[in-house]
Symmetry: C2
Subunit: 423 residues, 2 copies
């Protein structure tokens, strides 16, 4: 395993210095090879699907099934990634420290990514494309139900890469669950872990590795309906934020309602939500206004990922902010209000990656933000925060070029001043 990681790192070092053109050629080679071997891939996936028939849920089966159309989409995705702007070599600082002593901050790959994902074969194709585009090696571990498909895909990817400048060792597949633990311990060789899957799994990863983790465990998002909300916005946004895709991490779990607007708003929104099949749970004040189950303290900490919504009445804006900063997961929280001051206070004081005014939390997504690709949504406070595109897979280095310059010139009794002149 350590050997695999070392091989990946060596291949990644070679990949890191390839041109965008060479990386894009490798992506095109992968796309073509996947097209050419379509039958082999579908057959392997059929075997996986048959083996897990009746063993896994319908939702998981749907994700596991690749099929011709999904495979076509994934191949188109590889070519889309090739079309993205090169994330490497971007100059983010260019400064003369003194005449002829020039500092450049330049984006470069992280090194080796460890990506642990669900039994979703199309995810393997997407992750591999993003890794190659960003000049990183990648160690992949997919859900065990997709083992045949993943093995076949990586075999085809290796064959394709062997015809390009990218060393096939840059892409590795782990096949057993036991290897995950080892992967998490390889902080010397792996620079970033991207876990996908259940909240529990992501939390397990976060708590069992020293490697930086990109992702989030909980997505407990809130929408606050302020006293001066426009109900023509409040109702459709609430319905969208809860029901447009309830399993998504950016769907709301708790609706906070200003006490002054609750009597008018709650009956209307309850009707609209019920029409979509949403089950409501409310605090005592909510129960006095609409018919719903009783919410407990536990509800404020729960990500239902389902058509369930908890409702709490708050006395004012600060009560809403307090609740969110206490129970939220720093993912995405919104306010509906026509009062610009209240909107500003909310956006400034709520501590979350996304703070929204008069729109649905469902916009929290790398594609919707226009990042072209999304590698994950981070709820940690240090950057990268929120939806993360390709730029989450790169770092930077400082390149300083001189002409024999020494630090002594700028220290001691008669120090020469730096010019610090941006170029």
């Amino acid at each position: 395993m350590k050997e695999i990681a070392q091989k990946t790192r060596t291949a990644a070092q070679q990949l890191a210095i390839l041109s965008d053109t060479a990386r894009n050629q490798a992506l095109e080679a992968i796309a073509s090879a996947l097209e050419k071997h379509q039958k082999e891939i579908i057959d392997a996936n059929d075997a996986d699907c048959r083996a897990s028939e009746g063993v896994i849920s319908k939702a998981l089966s749907a994700r596991l099934l690749l099929g011709e159309n999904k495979l076509k989409g994934a191949i188109a995705g590889v070519r889309d990634v090739a079309k993205l702007a090169d994330p490497l070599g971007t100059l983010t600082l260019h400064r003369e420290l003194d005449q002829g002593l020039i500092l450049r901050r330049v984006s470069c790959p992280l090194g080796v990514l460890g990506v642990i994902f669900e039994a979703r074969p199309d995810a393997l194709i997407q992750i591999t494309s993003l890794a190659i585009k960003s000049g990183n090696g990648v160690i992949l571990k997919g859900g065990k139900e997709a083992l045949n498909t993943c093995t076949t895909l990586v075999k085809i990817i290796h064959e394709a890469l062997s015809q390009t400048e990218v060393n096939p060792d840059a892409v590795q597949l782990l096949t057993t669950r036991e290897e995950i633990k080892t992967l998490l311990s390889l902080d010397e060789y792996v620079d970033l872990i991207i876990p996908r899957g259940s909240n529990e799994f992501v939390r397990y990863v976060q708590e069992n590795t020293k490697i930086p983790v990109l992702g989030h465990a909980d997505g407990i998002c809130h929408l606050f309906i302020d006293e001066s909300a426009d109900l023509d916005k409040a109702i459709p946004v609430t319905v969208d934020a809860k029901t447009q895709y309830p399993a998504a991490c950016n769907a709301i779990e708790t609706l906070l309602v200003h006490s002054a607007i609750a009597p008018k708003f709650l009956p209307l929104v309850a009707e609209a939500l019920s029409a979509k099949g949403v089950k409501l749970k409310g605090d005592a004040t909510t129960e006095a206004i609409i018919d719903c189950e009783s919410a407990t303290e536990e509800d404020w900490r729960t990500e239902y990922s389902d058509l369930i919504l908890s409702i709490k009445i708050v006395d004012d804006l600060l009560g809403a902010i307090d609740h969110i900063n206490n129970y939220g997961s720093k993912h995405t929280d919104g306010i509906i209000t026509e009062n610009q001051n209240n909107a500003d206070t909310f956006l400034n004081q709520v501590d979350a990656a996304g703070v929204y005014h008069n729109c649905s939390t469902r916009f929290a997504d790398g594609f919707r933000y226009g990042f072209g690709a999304e590698v994950g949504i981070s709820t940690q406070k240090m950057p990268p925060r929120g939806p993360v595109g390709l730029e989450g897979l790169v770092t930077y280095k400082y390149k300083l070029t001189g002409n024999g310059d020494i630090a002594a010139t700028y220290s001691g009794q008669n120090p020469k001043p730096f010019t610090h002149h941006d170029l």
Copy 2:
């Protein structure tokens, strides 16, 4: 302790939304109060110095001693920090997702910093200024020998802040070593740990907390003298990189020399280094050329922080890059060469925060880079990497403002396209 952290967080949330003017007024209040209470501070420091007389090394005593001049310098430093550009509210992305649906990425404080530093009272003053300027709360823990001075300083800072818009609770002082362990466990309340001190201590912190750590344990920096090096640059840069301040993390520990230039270069550089009192340790090939001690495998992994330099002869550029990527600490590494291709290869392939061509590694420093302040040098790969200024104490949030926009509009059968137009 948890209560202290909670209080700090609450105060930090208030501080986070103050204007730059209000934060600068707080800094001016601190500077004035320190001036006014100069005698009290010096007296407290005298007590600390007397108590540790003969107990700690001369170097530590020198750091512990505040004195009138150093205090004046530290107070001037507070005012300098106030003059720095506001790190908060910077717009780093401004994009129309669709008409009236506007995304902004805006810099904001991290929250609460935990800073553990040596027995250096002036460090407390500098760290507190940087925290307030960047809108963060700070929990401070200084070396135990400086306890009197630190307690007095924080008392004065609290009095000063109580006259300003900044809640004094934003600055907290821990006084016992036992509290460090608790601090490292408060990942719910503390957003960034900045440890200063010995490599062992920083490593202990890195290995015992889930909170992100800004800093570095080792500073094993290299200089490679390429075949085509100009000796008029190679010799003074080597001497500067080793001797200008040997205890600094950006001083070199290992000199790598191309075998073709070694016979000519080594005797000259050995003479220049010996004149500065540097002890040399070399591999067998080096020993055949100059008189020096034998270097062992362990030497390549050692940060001497002293006037000692290990020397290794390598066959070529790639041998040097391999050695650095194997033994280096990803801090700062340089090449001396007149061959631009070799310089480019080195700068691209060496995996370090700083990669230098024809200049001394001693330039790796936030002030020298023109950042105005330095909160630390990070050797992790994820940003912030390298010397980190005030921007290492801030993060960002995404603010999205709409007019009742819902995600359903952009999905399903007839999805409206996003405009993704940068503003």
